[in-house]
Symmetry: C2
Subunit: 234 residues, 2 copies
């Protein structure tokens, strides 16, 4: 039976052999929520960069450059890390180069996987339906916060695992943990997340509107997939 | 207010500055359960080694040598990693040098902490009472399994955090996770752990008796503490 494992921090990805696996990258607040939103709204391709300066250079070759560090837009970049940036009409058909504190690093670490998909609450059911039908084992990689585990990505992992309970062997301890937590939290995700250190951190940056958006479930049906160096519509 | 953080894998300890903290090391199955049992039963000192061969050498200078890798006793060592080994009468007054797959590595990573304590379900309440009264911030370090997070150490972290809820700020996301899981599991710990990959792994080694022992709560009142290179009675 295909297996579903959960990796709670990008600092632990080296413990998993991803080469024959499908990997779902999760950075709910806000990188992967932005990616899903962008691709759903007609952004042509999104190229993730782990390195800030490499990303910045793409501005010279026709890319919209999106840069975030520590929750804030980086000086000199066109946009930051709000899903509302990706909803703007002028993004339609654009190529975006993006670097963020956690999410793009996680993608970088897993680039050798057979398939890299982008997950968020925004495309939860579409992603689950696709994964039910495919054959490979799955690793959910939570982007966390600077290597530490976080609540929102772990909750998403729990939500996805719950949807895939009949299709995957889920005896991995981290998966059992996130499923248990999700079962506890799903009645009121927003309320549960209110305890989170990261939500608290982002609140200080006045992006409560973003948080509300990123926790919407099944807003979109698209699944961004890594094709070469770029995220495109699956 | 003093803070309580939880580190779910020894591969993430470098993300925390432990130098001004008290660290509790947890490896329920079975390293820290053995250490508590040994110190409670009159073992004079226990010296943890990350390296197998360094540990083996201590046999030549009068130490009982305890060695485990992948759940099994290492050839040529006096004892393995069963708490029943530490209960034997002839261990009274002895010095034991020990190396295990996970637990002794976690201790090694945190040796610069202001204070390193050993925790297990066996000494849960004694540990909690001591921690309530002290002033430093606390990091609970779960030994996990080869860098991956595991259920039993995470559950212990949740149990300890729950006992310290009024004394420590617990806004760290990993702590919120383990507390949520513990609240779900505490009605029947043994049953909850039955799902665990590691429990499954150990079961194959015929050590169900050890598992039952390691899940006993408050069997002992001692707290092993790292003094120089050795664990002794606090």
């Amino acid at each position: 039976m295909k297996t579903l494992d959960t990796c709670l921090s990008p600092k632990l990805t080296h413990l998993y052999d991803v080469r024959d696996k499908t990997v779902v990258i999760v950075d709910i607040l806000r990188a992967t929520s932005c990616m899903v939103t962008g691709i759903a709204n007609g952004v042509r391709r999104i190229t993730p960069f782990a390195d800030l300066e490499e990303c910045r250079m793409m501005g010279r070759v026709g890319y919209v450059i999106a840069g975030e560090r520590n929750g804030e837009k980086v000086d000199g970049f066109d946009i930051g890390n709000s899903p509302y940036n990706y909803l703007e009409e002028e993004m339609f058909g654009e190529k975006i180069a993006v670097t963020t504190t956690n999410g793009t690093q996680a993608i970088h670490n897993c680039r050798e996987a057979k398939e890299v998909l982008i997950g968020a609450f925004l495309n939860l059911s579409a992603l689950a339906e696709y994964l039910k039908r495919q054959e490979r084992s799955l690793l959910i990689v939570c982007a966390g916060w600077k290597g530490r585990v976080n609540l929102e990505d772990s909750l998403f992992a729990g939500a996805l695992a719950e949807k895939l309970a009949d299709q995957y062997d889920q005896s991995c301890d981290a998966t059992l943990m996130v499923k248990s937590m999700y079962a506890d939290a799903k009645g009121d995700l927003v309320d549960f997340l209110r305890q989170s250190s990261h939500a608290e951190r982002l609140k200080k940056l006045n992006i409560e509107k973003d948080i509300e958006f990123c926790l919407r479930v099944d807003e979109y049906k698209v699944i961004p997939v890594l094709s070469g160096t770029d995220l495109v519509k699956l």
